[in-house]
């Protein structure tokens, strides 16, 4: 009785639940590796350590990790900026929405791979093509989310800002942006997750650096351990970005709701 009570209580702490759930995933991996019993197909988690240490020590892992992260940032910033502006316009101006909505549907349904291949074919196998391909893949998602946000803007607050003749910049910063913030946060979080996956495909297909390139390389060598080392390292980095940048900034803009 007592025991089950403390267990229920312990499980109410979100951090513990997270850790426990991740532990279960790890357990699943260990069991699966035990069952396959072939390190070339699925090595045990601890068997990755030497490969990881070697890749980290040689500088290859930090270099490729950095390249991918750099491409993620280069694609994320313009994709968010253009997507937010476009989505806002579409949400506010019906004519723009009518004209651009069919485009949005086309681009939303265009497979990422097609855009990437076309960009490489048309622009060349270079960094510009890689970034543009990722940006074009992401803009429609951001625009769709932001369009909903712009449609949901409170007309009363707009009227208030108009009557009191708030300056356009102040209106944007203090009236419009706080209302769009939850939508921007949602777009950013789903955006960053999608973008890094597309960046990997872009690197896989036509770059000579980055996690995607390394995974391509070790794929050809059938080196499952190294593929996992690179993939897991980047997942680790993205979890850090989420915990250190996205979550705190979201908490900050939501402060007024919980106060």
């Amino acid at each position: 009785m007592d025991c089950s009570c403390t267990l229920t209580k312990t499980l109410q702490s979100p951090a513990l639940v997270r850790a426990f759930s991740l532990g279960l995933l790890l357990l699943l991996w260990i069991v699966a590796a035990e069952l396959t019993a072939d390190t070339s197909v699925l090595p045990q988690p601890w068997a990755l350590w030497p490969s990881f240490a070697e890749a980290a020590a040689s500088g290859a892992l930090p270099y490729h990790l950095g390249m991918t992260l750099w491409r993620v940032v280069c694609a994320f910033v313009p994709a968010m900026a253009i997507g937010v502006a476009l989505g806002y316009l579409m949400g506010r101006v019906p004519a723009v929405d009518q004209w651009l909505d069919p485009w949005l549907v086309v681009f939303l349904n265009l497979p990422a791979l097609v855009l990437i291949v076309l960009c490489y074919l048309w622009i060349g196998l270079n960094e510009t093509a890689a970034i543009i391909a990722v940006v074009l893949n992401k803009i429609p998602n951001v625009a769709t989310i932001l369009r909903e946000g712009a449609r949901a803007l409170d007309p009363n607050l707009g009227a208030m800002a108009q009557v009191y003749r708030m300056r356009p910049l102040a209106r944007l910063r203090h009236v419009v942006m706080p209302q769009l913030a939850p939508f921007i946060a949602a777009a950013a979080r789903s955006g960053i997750a999608v973008i890094w996956k597309i960046v990997l495909v872009v690197e896989f297909l036509g770059r000579s650096s980055g996690i995607g390139f390394q995974i391509h390389f070790y794929f050809q060598l059938f080196d499952v351990a190294m593929v996992l080392v690179y993939a897991l390292s980047f997942i680790g980095v993205m979890l850090l970005v989420e915990a250190l940048i996205l979550q705190p900034s979201e908490r900050r803009v939501r402060r007024w709701r919980t106060a």
Partner: protein, 215 residues
């Protein structure tokens, strides 16, 4: 001088307002009465310049303030910032004294959601007067307040109007409010709505009407 000349205001096919004409001076208070749904708020939105889509002409001063049916505050900015962001020319000191005037100086750093509804409405009132408007538009500012709070708000409004001296246009259901604040009453009737009567009011009328009003 404020001149309102609305020949026609329609939403789609439906004509809401027709031939509404009146003029008023700065310092004068006019109450607009009428049943709900008649188009009082629509008329206010035209006068305040929020809705420019109508036939006619409205001459209004530069500095306008409006108090809406809801407080319409920025919930993500502090109480103090709700004054200073809307009126950047207002210094922090003046903003503080405006908050002191409405009795919520100690709440300056809180968010509006942490205030009571009565306090939020007082803040909306303070925001309206902080810019020293030449025209103040009040759209049922005391609706859904309990009697005591409404009375407190009314007294505060009277005092602030006396200090600032703007032209005031007040929309209300309540004859008591109308008579208390305004010297002149416009009654809207009909469909499309038009001005049925333009009367000077006096406090003498108050005692007779007060009992019917809240029914």
């Amino acid at each position: 001088m404020i001149k309102v000349d609305v020949r026609q205001k329609a939403f789609g096919e439906e004509e809401i307002l027709h031939d509404i004409r009146f003029a008023m001076e700065i310092g004068e208070t006019v109450a607009i009465l009428g049943t709900s749904g008649i188009g009082k708020s629509t008329l206010l939105r035209l006068i305040a310049g929020i809705d420019p889509a109508f036939e006619g002409r409205i001459t209004r001063p530069e500095k306008i303030a409006m108090v809406f049916q809801e407080p319409v505050l920025l919930p993500w900015r502090s109480v103090l910032e709700n004054l200073t962001l809307v009126h950047p020319e207002l210094g922090t000191e003046a903003a503080h004294s405006a908050l002191e005037r409405i009795g919520i100086l100690d709440k300056a750093q809180l968010f509006p959601g942490q205030l009571s509804l009565g306090q939020q409405r007082r803040l909306a009132l303070a925001r309206a007067f902080a810019g020293r408007p030449e025209l103040l538009v009040l759209d049922e500012p005391y609706v859904s307040l309990d009697a005591a709070t409404a009375e407190e708000m009314l007294a505060l409004t009277e005092a602030l109007i006396a200090e600032t001296g703007p032209a005031v246009i007040l929309v209300t259901h309540s004859q008591v409010e109308a008579h208390r604040l305004a010297r002149r009453c416009l009654r809207l009737t009909g469909r499309p709505a038009t001005i049925a009567s333009d009367l000077a009011t006096g406090s003498a009328l108050l005692s007779r009407d007060v009992h019917h009003d809240r029914a």
